[in-house]
Every structure is written in structure tokens, then in C-alpha cells.
Amino acid sequence: MASMAEINAKVAGLKQSQAYEKTFDFTRTFVAKANTAGEFAIPITNEGPFLQESYNIRCTANSKVDYGGGSVSYCGVKLKFKSQADNAAMSNDYIPVQLIGTPGSTDGTRYGARPFMHIYPKGDVLIVEYDNRAPAAIAGETYVMADERVDICFNGKLYPMG
């Protein structure tokens, strides 16, 4: 039978070698104010490197758009992600949340988690840029923008070190 010292040494070795992993989700909720754009930073855990495998986004649709037949629900939030350590945006432009998000109503088609692999080093910070301003009208439509709540869950694996 291994002694406690041997077990501790083995666990310490595993930690140093990143030879074990644990599933890890981190979530963030924020409100994208109507007619504003901005950014905020999410510090990623200091436990070790984080392998992001996918993310799942849900957003309210409080804004309205009217194409001439009455106003309907609309969500105009656009997002852009950036790793501080990498200092490179993960997209060349803002992405409409309607394209990458999961609609929140019970009868909506659920898109689910979107595969999106990125390796963050220990201590990295994820920067999220958002834009909740109305797009240019191209079909004579009118927009009434409202505050939107955005929930993001990043799914992946964490490799604890030391």
C-alpha cells in the first residue's frame, strides 16, 4: 500500500505535468444596454490552462423591428471575443447573436452549444466586445432598441497545475 507521502508526490506530479483534466464550465451574464457598444473582461480561472471546446449563448429579444406589418421581437446584439494573452480577436468582425445564440423561448429551435476551440493559458483574460446599436435600415424598417440580457456559458476542460 502506498504511503500518504507517495500519494501526495504522485498527485503533485500529475498536477505539474497537466496529466489530468476536469470538465469546467464558466458562465457570464451581462446586460447590453440599448444603443450602446462596449467591452468587458472575464478573468479565466488561475487553476491552470483552460481548453474551451464550445460556448452556448442565450439572449433576450426585447428590441422591436417593424417591417411595415407591425413590430416583432428582435435581438440586435453583436459579439466579438478576444484572448488577452493572444492579443488577437477571435473573429474579424462582430457576429450577430442571432447567428451564434440559442433562442430562449421554449418553442424556439434550440441550436445548442457551438463548437469553438481555444486554449487559454493559465491566468488569461477573455475580453468580450458587444454592440447593441440598431443596424442600418435597408428595407424601410424601423428599430426600437432595448436592453438585452446575454447569458454565455463556455464549456471545456481545465488542466489544474500546482
Binding site: V65, N92, D93, Q98, L99, G104, D107
Partner: protein, 178 residues
């Protein structure tokens, strides 16, 4: 080893079916494991589609980082697709095989693969009028400095905002600089 993988996955993206795997999980893991660095990357093409004019836009992927396309997704916010629009995606390599890396004339570009997909999209009641379609679980290893060209040919429809994402990862396999 990596070369044989590359040969295997240089398959056209024509006739993509959702859920189709181009490589086995083990082969994909091998490539990602051998890479020095891996990072996520989306190439996003936003369009204001009006009238019947076909629009085209091009983005070039990062030099010295090989781009692996893992999915393509489309979105339109006011689509009345009696006759759906068609979306074309083309990948062209700018990377030179000559000593004059990154400096070959444009006519030397190699077309890696291209496809044209009719875009009908799924509707949902949460975003009325919005249509969405996604092809995922791809793993097409392309190249560094790949020109991604996306074109939209409107169908008989209303004017709408559209976005196309060519999503994937960039891998850095090592070299003198990043």
C-alpha cells in the same frame, strides 16, 4: 505523418452534409496535439442584401497559422425565401511553394475548394423572420494565408441583413516567428 493527414483531408467541401466527419477523431486529435499553438477563429462576412445584385467579399487568413475550417453558418434577418438565395464559399491558397513565400502573383493562387449552397434556413418563433443554417463537424485543414471568398446571390425575396461565418481554428506548427 502530418502530410498524409493533409492529403486525406484535402477533400472538397462540396456536398457537405451536417454531421459529416472528414477525419476521424484520432486523426484530428493528432493534428491538434502536434500543433504548438491552437486558437479559435471566425471569419465573419456581414452583408446588407438589397435588390438582385450578387455581392462578394474576401478575407485572408493569418500568415504562418494554418486554418482548419470546422463549420459554416448562415443567418438572415428578414428572409422571405420563396426562391432561396444561394451562398458561395471559395477557399484559395496564397501560400507559395516557392522560396518567395507570401509573394507570388495573384494568378498563381490555388483554388483549394469551393461550393455553392442554397440557403433556406430554419425559422424560429423567437426571432421572427430570422433564418439560420449551420454545417458543422467539419475538419478541413486548409493552409496559411487562405483567401476565403463568400458571395450571396439573392433569391426572390425581401431585403435583409445577412451574415456568414466560416468558423474554425488556427494552428501554429512552429517556425521562426509568429
Amino acid at each position: 505523418m502530418l502530410k498524409s493527414f493533409t492529403e486525406k483531408i484535402f477533400q472538397g467541401l462540396t456536398d457537405i452534409k451536417p454531421g459529416r466527419l472528414v477525419l476521424s477523431d484520432a486523426a484530428r486529435d493528432e493534428i491538434l496535439y502536434k500543433a504548438k499553438r491552437v486558437r479559435a477563429k471566425d471569419y465573419v462576412f456581414n452583408f446588407d442584401v438589397t435588390g438582385s445584385t450578387t455581392q462578394e467579399r474576401t478575407e485572408t487568413t493569418t500568415a504562418r497559422w494554418k486554418f482548419i475550417c470546422t463549420g459554416v453558418a448562415f443567418f438572415a434577418d428578414n428572409l422571405d425565401n420563396t426562391i432561396p438565395p444561394t451562398v458561395g464559399v471559395k477557399f484559395e491558397s496564397l501560400a507559395s511553394l516557392s522560396p518567395f513565400r507570401n509573394a507570388e502573383p495573384a494568378e498563381m493562387n490555388r483554388v483549394l475548394t469551393q461550393t455553392v449552397i442554397p440557403f433556406e434556413g430554419k425559422k424560429n418563433s423567437y426571432f421572427p423572420g430570422a433564418h439560420f443554417e449551420e454545417y458543422k463537424n467539419l475538419f478541413a485543414v486548409l493552409d496559411q494565408r487562405v483567401n476565403i471568398t463568400v458571395s450571396i446571390k439573392p433569391g426572390v425575396t425581401t431585403d435583409y441583413h445577412a451574415a456568414v461565418i466560416v468558423t474554425g481554428v488556427e494552428v501554429f506548427e512552429g517556425g521562426d516567428d509568429e
